[in-house]
Symmetry: C2
Subunit: 253 residues, 2 copies
Amino acid sequence: MSTKQKPSDVAGISELITAVPRNESGGCAACGARTQSICAALSSGDLPAMSAIRSDVRFAPGQSVFFEGDPADSLFSVKLGVVKLFKLLADGRTQITGFLFPGDFVGLALLNKYTYSVEAVTAVELCKFPRVEFEALLLRFPELEHRLLVNASNEIAAAQDQMLLLGRKTAQERLATFLLMMRKRAASPTQANTVILPMSRQDIGDFLGLTIETVSRTVTRLRKSGAIELPDPNRVIIRDEAMLTDLSGIEDL
Amino acid sequence: MSTKQKPSDVAGISELITAVPRNESGGCAACGARTQSICAALSSGDLPAMSAIRSDVRFAPGQSVFFEGDPADSLFSVKLGVVKLFKLLADGRTQITGFLFPGDFVGLALLNKYTYSVEAVTAVELCKFPRVEFEALLLRFPELEHRLLVNASNEIAAAQDQMLLLGRKTAQERLATFLLMMRKRAASPTQANTVILPMSRQDIGDFLGLTIETVSRTVTRLRKSGAIELPDPNRVIIRDEAMLTDLSGIEDL
DNA sequence: CGATTGCTTGACTGGGTTCAAGGCCAGTGG
DNA sequence: CCACTGGCCTTGAACCCAGTCAAGCAATCG
């Protein structure tokens, strides 16, 4: 969408980003996201084959990684930062289908074109693989393909949860679910109950199928009810987890 | 959900069901769904290995195949009929995450429990694989795993489309999208513009994140606008495809 | 036939959207 | 140093689309 830059360091964001060590040298073995990413499927002896076809790419907040409809000739693994996946309607209505964090993989496409867009939410560093070479790698290493299948299964389960949220949950239930979800991905490294929200209210609305105003009002309501605290707009402290869990409609985490 | 039986032959349903030849003998080679199902990944020489672990199961409309939370010890391929996948909230609100038709695969689970429920919409015949044996097959035939990955990718793309629908589309856009979607899966074998809807209004509502009343009203509105015709509640004739496509917000089919 | 089930239609309500200010903070420039 | 500006978030008021509640209707079945 917009290519405007956000404030270079919204409170807490750098904390989140630096939670994963940077990969200065560029080698896979030194990559901070290695243990969580698809590369973890390969033994250290097989890593060089993957390392040989990869390259690093960086994006500033708001920059586009690719657009829906672009030729799908690359795949990416998130090393650092947060990106969003989204789809658009002709009149601009946006649905964010997911936020990706370090270790997450993106770009798997069957067709020759991407079916969604990807944009940097924070400053990000991605590991880029050319599609043709990557597919050759898949043939060579079945364990890599297995890992992708596991990934895809998780993604499907998450998508089904999100469909339940979008189709049937109230605004308050959506926010409660979202905050609990984010705590698992973006808890402050120092305080487990503090969730850092690297994305804007607009992004949260576009993810939850709400308007920015409803997001704001609902967060305020959760704050007034004592469930959460808001040191600043991008930082949420979960005060009453039981209340959030009740509201979220989640059975088991 | 309910285990009540629907009318044994809602108009047009038998037409849809019998569109795929029945597999009386039980062998994979003779299976009507073979060319569309995951088994298509195997050469006819490798089929017996898969045939050896499979068995047929049948369900009447409304019967449950499995529930969310059940131990995930089987996988299924739809041979005949239609099943629905859904998730529930504590108070009974339901979100159907997909309808499966002959050739579709269901049951892939990473955890030991299913994360959603499956129920027969029409009379169905499923091909059942015990999980342990199936996983052994995956190790033996990488092309089978590849096929599952392709399947999963399609499912993810469909899920993202559905998130856009649930999060951002109006009731009319949802119905238009749904009818066009169903035409691709359940067009009458004899008339391409006639879509057979094997599921109830309640199911359609639970799939589109609407109430049964809104579904009914919106279908009526589409009928009055001339976009569709309704010979009976379970049969829709698409009269003005361009109008539906405009309404649906779909760019390219 | 009466009872049941599924679909449709009508009247009313309400949660979330829309429209419109207002507040807060960081960055900029006089 | 402070007024000005632009983003982003919050809050308020009015509106509206879809939900809720309640009949009514048609087809099926016992």
